[in-house]
Point group: D2
Chain length 152, copies 4
């Protein structure tokens, strides 16, 4: 799957149908003065779940179906530092019956080149049993399908 | 100092000369489904330091003078939950020669009542010795003085 | 309440009936090379809740009564840095019908002087309504009473 | 590179020459009641850097050579939840002139099956220029070589 990040040419914002601007926080910076590598995954998790809640009907507090992370990956190309704002860009790669692979890129606000690219797999499971559902809810699927189309 | 939070009437955004909108992140929510109490201090740290960097000339990477937290406090009145955006509101209470006490309030975007109030003390120290400086840099002081004035 | 931190003589581990050793993590360090101020509250939350789960019967996943933070405070005396281990020391100050004020001190492993002291108020509420319960569960109360006694 | 996690049979602690026990913290749990996916990368970063500091002479505060994350990956097999302790197990896969690929597995204390496996690439760079060094310091290389050997 890592070949997904090795596509050429390099990604641009136009390759992603959904973007969310996330301001960095003081604590994102680590001892080396830049945003720590683990925070990038937090940006992934945030842009994905905010989209699922707002567009896909995901109810994180009481819904029967929730999305759990099964695998994730990030390649770091450049640094971010507080107080930068990061544009977190999202599209859907593979869309299965109960799982989805998101593809993501992060850009510093105003910059053309991505600081990082990655992917993230959600498996949709029953909240109680934590077993994959037979099929994800229709509204969720529709929202994810909308991210398969190029915005251009 | 805690009497600062017990002022009546309850705080409004108009009581604070500086506000920054901070979107919550997925990981801010804890097991109880709301933003964890420690993240509120992260909002404090973020609105304070972004202001110092942008308005006060604070150079967090190489400047000779840095601000260290000597004391902090928060009173929680209501809950926030991802994907809420929080308005982090800032003013300066006491301004000393080498230290400052900030007063803060957090509001959920769109709400009139604060979800939390708190205060936070910065002592400005020499980066190498970590001892308080005799006087904070003039540009920093000017920026802090601007937060002592009511915005109305 | 802040007079609680101003007691003399300075606190020692022997003043606290419960201690938990918490290794720092890479990401605790911020841009200034020491553990960020907000992480101290994470140490508080961790020693408190681990104790409530293990000794007080707190069921964070499904129990009817949960503890929410109503107020917290920390005074910072010295720095910690990854990979230090911190001894998080806990006792109970005021124990009410539905709330408790914890008093805490943090020590670097091997050091006699505390790096920080603080307090933290839990209000025990009904999980659904988030309203304070009339009385905390007996097992929880017994566990908290055990932290009112000096260990010596 | 992802084939590294697909080795059969499943990993055991004996496959890793270095292990560090990391207690979970209250804030590791997310809204779904288990340790959030991004914290797993924090465990990776912690076991790696603690080893480099203690065994490899890494000076994170002032050393000329520092390690930056170029790529990371995690596959999640099962859940952890506070207050579990996690055993973070580390070995070295590929060791280059200025970079290293670590292979990691996380186990809940007392369990035989891993909850997650992953890998993490460090590039060693000059602290000022952030450009890869020609060769990593000898003491660091020796420490990393020691993690290439199976502990059995």
């Amino acid at each position: 799957m890592s070949s997904q990040d090795q596509t050429t040419p390099p990604p641009t914002r136009a390759d992603y149908p959904h973007t969310s601007a996330i301001p960095t926080r003081w604590k994102d910076n680590d001892v080396y003065g830049h945003v720590n590598n683990i925070e990038y995954y937090g940006f992934f998790d945030t842009v994905i779940n905010a989209y699922l809640i707002r567009e896909g009907g995901l109810d994180i507090h009481g819904g029967e179906v929730i999305g759990l992370c099964a695998e994730s990956h990030c390649r770091y190309a450049a640094a971010l530092a507080f107080p930068d704002t990061v544009d977190a860009c999202l599209r859907v790669g593979r869309l299965g019956g109960s799982s989805v692979t998101y593809e993501l890129a992060l850009f510093r606000a105003g910059d053309a080149a991505a600081v990082a690219t990655g992917w993230f797999v959600h498996v949709f499971v029953d909240r109680q049993t934590r077993r994959p559902v037979a099929a994800m809810p229709p509204r969720l699927r529709t929202a994810l399908q909308a991210l398969q189309e190029s915005p251009s």
